[in-house]
């Protein structure tokens, strides 16, 4: 079960950038359309750069091992687990986080559906849920239940909001 989930959802689409010999190199990251320069080790997970170094706390830490999806961001539009994505693998790709997903048509439609259907409970996993759903709708505008299962089963919600997540994705797809 685990390998199925990992293979479907881990960011294998992003080959690491060429290794560098420079120790204290600063990385330039393009996040939500703004460039940020950060000086961290090359193997630092993107999650901690986003949360701790840049202070954008909408992206959540849940497991640190690509098992729960709370940390999902988009890299060039593809849903990616930022907790296992090292900063040196991102290159000049465009990173989108929950703070800016509402600027995309899929993100806006999903946020509206999430509110219409009262999806959230504690809300902690919902940034990641929305990011995975937005990537799904971009790729597959009219997803089947199977498409939803495949795109969303990497995102854990301990409050158990899954039934409403499914309904909200379908509603957003109709919007």
């Amino acid at each position: 079960m685990l390998s199925r989930r990992l293979s479907a959802r881990v960011n294998s689409a992003f080959p690491p950038a060429p290794a560098t010999l420079e120790e204290a190199m600063a990385y330039s990251l393009k996040i939500n359309g703004t460039a940020h320069s950060v000086d961290v080790d090359d193997d630092t997970p993107l999650l901690w750069v986003i949360r701790d170094v840049l202070g954008m706390t909408g992206t959540k830490f849940g497991c640190g091992a690509a098992l729960c999806g709370a940390c999902t961001v988009h890299i060039d539009g593809v849903a990616t687990r930022s907790c296992i994505t090292t900063v040196d693998s991102v290159g000049d790709s465009a990173i989108t986080t929950i703070e800016a997903i509402g600027e995309t048509p899929q993100g806006a439609a999903l946020q509206k559906a999430w509110l219409d259907l009262e999806v959230v409970q504690c809300g902690y996993c919902q940034s990641g849920q929305l990011m995975s759903a937005a990537a799904l709708l971009k790729e597959t505008p009219k997803p089947t239940d199977e498409d939803i299962n495949s795109a969303m089963s990497g995102n854990v919600c301990r409050c158990g909001t899954y039934q409403r997540i499914r309904a909200a994705i379908k509603q957003a797809a109709e919007a």
């Binding site: 170094v53 830490f61 709370a70 009262e118 809300g123 902690y124 301990r158 899954y162």
Partner: protein, 734 residues
């Protein structure tokens, strides 16, 4: 407008001689005196000090209407997903006659004198108590406020108050030509004599315009765009972050640490050692975690290094042979067992469980010379403050707790252990530090739902009905540690809740409890507490009795519920909506369970499918619910959906096991949560009721497992008596 304004505490500590809510206007305080009577205090907000209100008034919460007309509800309960911030605001808005979006909700600062829960008596969110505790006081406070505001307008216009009407935060005179807003009236209202709370007329439920409607959650907008701030999102100037490693063996201690290697990591500032843990303090968690790994900690495992699950279970098995503290004894169950036409015995077991909240344990601390600030999400702010006073030596008032939204609670955040660890670390750190646990630490250093071992016996009469029922529960007592004053004569009231008082007519019943503490393994409340274990046992065993009596499980239960109309009502409703008795394909089955727990009546019918490999797929859950008056039916449905999944996750996947003094599970790959591709369709059918509201957050978690295992029996003929469900046991060949 966001109706949540959570980032600034409403007041600081030590304000007993100053006005404790900032700004003027009308202040309403409310206190539930004896379960039915509320005392409501009203005054000018600018002039009220804590000393004025705390004795002998002992309030449960406060409402302020400021000169701009904004209504602020200082909310003593915390929001962890259950929708409390919305449902409690609805109770107030209904009687105060304001719209829900005029109510601003704020976290209360820790103060038992000002914000105690009238059921739990401290400022605590648990036991599905929020709506039950605040149902009467909040509505009466709203009604007193409305009465005062109308009186202020009537005085201004020199008319009889009875000729005026209030709606949407505005008072209008009898002719409909004059209007004054609550903001305009707040100051004048605060100078009028306060009517007794029981003298103001509460609305007839048929006139409710808000209660009973699916009002929108006030906390939802900030949770869909990343703005919601949980404890883990705390940001402070100069703040460092820390990763923590706690002794993998319960009770072990740090032996050796390679500090130099840790400090060599880029961004690492400090290595902190305390007895039971090591923390690496850094600029960001990426660096802190690398530092922690480099520290190559060696541990002194201490006395629990050989503890394992098998020994814990063996001890439960042995000790449960002896009689325990009696929770209930009616008739003569032993004698009746002897004379029964048929005797049934069974042993049930449920495992240790972790909470695994999505937001891992974390706490930010800024230690100062004579005081400290704590940023955390907690279900128990005052208890935390009290415990920290012991750790720091500071007076309670010097411990400023800034509470937050909780990224899941489920009982985990009823415990201050994580905050204590963070404070011990912060005592060695200059400036604020945020301690964040990894998921592995969170699962391996949780405080666990106890392992319970239950012995059941029943005797059936010639008609198949039970004439004897005995139930012995053995396991850890959470009350003995957490609420020792309520642990009397060896009886833990939580451990027997849902077992001592099954909803059925049982003529000879004996229920007792044997306390058995697992060495080293800390235990704690877990969503559903006692009932989540006992309803599984009672309802599974009741199913065994129906089978032994060769009767339909629903009909068998109905016959025993003749004198319990509300329980009968939910059972009948769930069975009817589920199509009980209609055929299902081969390999599928339906199971039922029913209970009265947390003040609510609930029944569920589960439909499951068991594959030849023993894999269990739950296709559908139908829930009949009578929780009295519904405040927010949509929130209730959401709780039924989510709480059922929480319980299903445990029933199908959940087990914490101990080997060599350590928890064997570590992350979501071996402590499996249910995912979207596994969950059933869940339907909720509510019985309309005018009874006082019951609790809801823990109800579905408690009821769901028996419905599912009874359905597994219907599908396979195999009785699941130990959780979680073991597919090996259900394989076609076995």
């Amino acid at each position: 407008m966001d109706t949540l304004n959570l980032n600034e505490p409403t007041s600081g500590p030590s304000t007993s001689r100053r006005a404790f809510l900032k700004g003027g206007g009308l202040l309403l305080g409310f206190a539930l005196l004896d379960g039915t009577t509320t005392s409501v205090f009203a005054a000018n907000a600018a002039q009220v000090t804590e000393d004025d209100v705390k004795a002998p008034f002992a309030p449960n919460g406060f409402i302020r209407i400021d000169p701009k007309g904004t209504v602020t509800l200082v909310m003593p309960m915390v929001e962890m997903g259950q929708g409390t911030y919305t449902s409690l605001a609805m109770l107030l808005a209904e009687e105060l006659e304001v719209d829900l979006d005029q109510v601003q909700v704020q976290h209360a600062p820790p103060n038992d004198a000002l914000y105690a829960n009238s059921i739990l008596h401290i400022q605590s969110t648990g036991l599905s108590s929020s709506v039950r505790a605040f149902w009467t006081p909040l509505r009466q406070a709203g009604a007193v406020g409305r009465t005062l505001l109308i009186a202020a307008a009537a005085k201004e216009w020199s008319v009889e108050p009875a000729t005026c009407k209030a709606a949407h935060g505005v008072v209008t005179d009898g002719s409909g030509s004059k209007h004054l807003s609550y903001g305009e009236l707040a100051e004048a209202a605060s100078k009028l004599p306060v009517p007794a709370a029981d003298s103001v007329k509460l609305k007839d439920p048929k006139d409710f315009t808000l209660i009973g409607t699916p009002a929108k959650r006030v906390d939802a907008p900030m949770k869909v765009d990343g703005r919601a701030i949980y404890g883990i999102d705390t940001k402070l100037p100069g703040m460092k972050v820390a990763a923590i490693a706690i002794s993998p063996v319960f009770g072990g201690k740090v032996k050796a640490v390679d500090e130099k290697a840790a400090l060599a990591m880029k961004g690492v500032h400090q290595v902190v050692k305390i007895d039971e843990a090591v923390a690496v303090v850094a600029d960001h968690l990426g660096a802190a975690k690398k530092g922690l790994e480099a520290a190559a900690i060696e541990w002194d495992d201490g006395p629990h290094a050989t503890v394992n699950s098998a020994d814990i279970i063996k001890e439960l098995e042995e000790k449960s042979k002896q009689p325990g503290a009696v929770a209930r004894n009616e008739g003569d169950a032993e004698k009746a067992l002897g004379s029964a036409a048929q005797r049934i015995d069974a042993i049930y077991q449920v495992p240790f469980l972790a909470h695994a909240t999505m937001e891992p344990m974390n706490c930010t601390v800024h230690m100062q010379k004579d005081s400290c600030d704590i940023w955390v999400g907690t279900q128990v702010p005052t208890l935390t403050q009290m415990v920290l006073a012991g750790v720091t030596g500071f007076p309670k008032e010097a411990i400023r707790i800034h509470n937050h939204l909780l990224g899941g609670g489920f009982g985990r955040r009823l415990e201050p252990d994580g905050t204590v660890l963070a404070v011990k670390i912060a005592q060695q750190v200059d400036g604020p530090v945020k301690v964040v646990w990894s998921r592995e630490e969170d699962i391996q250093h949780d405080m666990y739902r106890p392992y319970y071992y239950d012995r059941m016996s029943a005797g059936l009469g010639a008609d198949g009905k039970p004439i004897a029922w005995t139930h012995r529960i053995a396991g850890s007592s959470i009350f003995a540690r957490y609420i020792p004053q309520a642990f009397v004569n060896g009886l833990d009231p939580d451990a027997v809740e849902g077992a001592a008082e099954p909803p059925y007519a049982l003529p000879n019943i004996h229920v007792d409890y044997v306390q058995v503490e697992p060495p080293g393994v800390p235990t704690a409340f877990w969503r559903g507490v006692g009932p989540t274990h006992n309803v599984f046992v009672v309802e599974s065993f009741m199913d065994e009795l129906a089978h032994a009596a060769k009767q339909d499980p629903v009909a068998y239960r109905k016959a025993l519920l003749a004198n319990n109309p509300r329980a009968l009502g939910v059972l009948t409703l769930a069975a009817e909506k589920a199509g009980w008795g209609t055929p299902l394909p081969e390999g599928q089955g339906r199971g039922v369970s029913v209970a009265f727990i947390f003040g609510s009546y609930v029944a569920q019918v589960a439909e499951v499918e068991v594959g030849p490999d023993g894999a269990v797929k739950v296709n559908r859950i139908v829930c009949g619910l009578d929780c009295g008056m519904s405040v927010n039916p949509d929130t209730i449905e959401a709780q039924i959906e989510g709480g059922s999944i929480f319980g299903l996750t445990a029933a199908l996947h959940g087990a914490i096991t101990i080997k060599d003094g350590r928890v064997e599970q570590s992350n979501f790959d071996n402590y499996l949560p249910m995912r979207i591709d596994e969950v059933p369709v869940i339907e909720t059918h509510l019985i309309k009721s005018l009874e006082a509201p019951g609790g809801i957050g823990e109800v579905p978690t408690s009821i769901v497992s028996a419905a599912v295992t009874n359905a597994i029996f219907a599908a396979t003929g195999k009785r699941v008596r130990t959780l979680p469900v073991d597919p090996e046991m259900l394989k076609s060949s076995s």
